[in-house]
Symmetry: C2
Subunit: 405 residues, 2 copies
């Protein structure tokens, strides 16, 4: 049994040399630590004499946030490794392949995806990903369906749920998404220019009620094995390929939390666009493209999820007429509510998104923040009565124009 210690690049190279494949015994390996250093070390190991490369990711026993240290269980490394393997089984080629792991060292050796770019960066740069909605729809439909009571043995699901109890990571979500943005909290983080917006969040009882209901779902609804942090910074893309990474927040929760994460991050990018594109026509085109992606992510997900229900259902009671429609309706509403909560927290909470934070012009940045909050609040407040993605897009337009007025 290994004893935990944080790796140095030299440790990473030595481990890489002992692994069967990919490197020759006498290979000259380079190693760079490329993580952001907040939660994990990420070593990128390349061979000077071949195009072979690997990633070694190691969990740190703390998170660096607002200058202090927040203890975190290393169990998340085992959880991340196990769910990567489970996702790979369900969606081959859509997550990095795991080559090796050591749970005591809290590390995983995996496929290097550096031929892809982080989707958030690609979106900010204006790249188009015409296959993304299909890919992510497929990923979410398969990972959520086949880990739920709909698509797997219901007793094995319970055992699996027990293996993915992930309290430390869930606590981060519970605090940062479902609590702190709605009160005065030390970790909140926003420009003084939107103090009026932050105060409005703290005093809006209608909003608080909906957030409390969403929080309860996150705390209690063990529907499927979630990725748990499915934003565009956890997705590597090329125009042809989509790879999901970093599932260390995985646990059994409400399906809509994953779907909502994708929708929220596309809408955050949408809200940022006037800060990046001056030309009016180009701006309108890109906005339309982003809203079409929002629509397509839902419809691609829904059609695949419903197809799995028809073909791969293991629970005979779920064949009951109208049950699928009620189930999908609730899943849709949850997704919209969670999307709203994720937008709000990215403006006033601890962790922001580069789409908005790096807008060069301060006035445009503030506009984007207000627009994102306006959309986010409208999604949260309306989630329990929405039925179609078209209604959501109408709400986005209304929230945006109200915001302007």
């Amino acid at each position: 049994m290994s004893q935990y210690r944080p790796f140095t690049p030299q440790d990473a190279i030595e481990l890489a040399k002992t692994l069967p494949g990919p490197f020759a015994a006498d290979a000259n390996l380079d190693c760079h630590e490329i993580g952001d250093g907040n939660l994990n070390l990420v070593f990128h190991i390349t061979d000077q004499n071949s195009d072979k490369s690997i990633i070694i990711k190691q969990a740190l026993p703390y998170a660096k946030v607002v200058g202090e240290s927040w203890p975190l269980s290393l169990v998340r490394a085992r959880i991340e490794r196990e769910i990567l393997q489970e996702e790979y089984r369900l969606c081959p080629g859509m997550v990095p392949e795991v080559y090796h792991y050591d749970d005591d060292l809290a590390l995983t050796v995996m496929e290097d995806l550096s031929d892809h770019v982080i989707m958030r960066k690609g979106l900010i740069e204006g790249v188009s990903y015409p296959l993304f909605a299909q890919h992510i729809g497929e990923f979410m439909a398969r990972t959520l369906f086949f880990t739920s009571d709909l698509g797997m043995d219901q007793q094995l699901k319970k055992e699996q749920q027990g293996r993915f109890i992930n309290p430390d990571q869930c606590k981060i979500t519970e605090d940062l998404i479902f609590d702190e943005p709605y009160r005065i909290a030390e970790k909140n983080n926003y420009d003084v220019s939107i103090e009026d917006e932050a105060e409005a969040l703290r005093t809006d009882g209608v909003l608080h009620l909906e957030v409390a209901l969403l929080r309860e779902k996150f705390l209690t609804h063990g529907q499927a094995l979630l990725h748990g942090d499915l934003h565009t910074g956890s997705i590597f893309v090329t125009p042809e390929s989509t790879k999901v990474i970093d599932p260390e927040f995985a646990y059994y929760g409400p399906m809509g939390f994953d779907v909502g994460a994708v929708l929220a991050n596309l809408l955050l990018n949408y809200a940022s666009l006037p800060g990046w594109i001056q030309d009016e026509t180009a701006l309108r085109e890109r906005e339309t493209l982003l809203l079409n992606m929002v629509r397509d992510v839902w419809t691609e997900f829904e059609s695949r999820f419903r197809a799995l229900w028809v073909n791969d259902l293991v629970d005979p009671m779920a064949k009951t007429p109208r049950y699928q429609d009620l189930y999908v309706q609730q899943l849709f509403r949850d997704s919209i509510g969670f999307a709203g909560a994720k937008m709000v927290r990215r403006i006033v909470g601890l962790a922001h998104v580069a789409d908005i934070d790096t807008i060069p012009n301060a006035t445009e940045r503030e506009h984007a923040q207000r627009k994102a909050l306006s959309i986010g609040k409208a999604l949260i407040k309306n989630n329990r009565r929405l039925n179609t993605i078209g209604e959501v897009l109408d709400i986005v337009s209304t929230a945006v124009s109200t915001n302007k007025a």
Copy 2:
């Protein structure tokens, strides 16, 4: 570490002699196996020279049902012992005290409650339990509240949920309550005289949809640590005292499943009354008493649960105005739906209740079965639109009179 073997009465006596307290070293102990032998051995050990006595309960690695053997994990013995200790901590005096346990032998040594009677028996004999609603209201309010995200640390709750994963026992519930009564199934068990009722259950799409939704809640909604089998055969009573036993079905599920179990079993006894009481006036009085108990169990539970919310809430987000009302409304609806499902399964499913099955007159017995089904179906079909226990009692009256017509 002990090795599992089923105990004989002699084994039980020998273990009892080694325990510190309650018996003298030279005590003359008697032992009778008093379990029904389906799932567990229950040894009642008494001292010929004192009034001291204990119970030793040992789980069997199978269930005897319909003449065959159904393998069951012994883990349930550890789960039962742990939840007894947890319930004792939360409600001292309302469950048997655990004196000793051996998880490898799957046995627990506990307080003897033979000065109490099984509540189902007491109810059939016409005894009144004027304190029962307060007692069980207190028991359910405290055990459900303090094991939920409302009343305990939300991260410790997740760890606890992991310890109470109980697939084998849940499978029994999922099959016997939420599946088999609604289709042709080998384990179903009912008189040919009500084949029309059984067929109606199999073909009622409206009913199936509601059962599918209740089943989903049972499968996914990890709201609180449930007793999991809280019928009147799991409750020991005297007119002054209430003790809950046999929590081997414990797991993290929807609170309404426990509340509904109590309501269902009172209503099953209510439906049986014309089979036991000939005198019209006495019958009406007893029926009123039972319906008042149904009303009181809910109101006593609700008022205590709301008081705990005011005084012992750990989740600040749950203080949001109107959230408590929405939460309690949903809990009420769940309770009524589960109550209905539990009534139906006790008529056509594998396991019945003596209240109805032992009615001497066959015609009266059939009337009681039809009445119970009529009430059960009405509760299931209306659960999602009900708001008050008064409406439930109206539905009971309507179901009964429709049944008669």
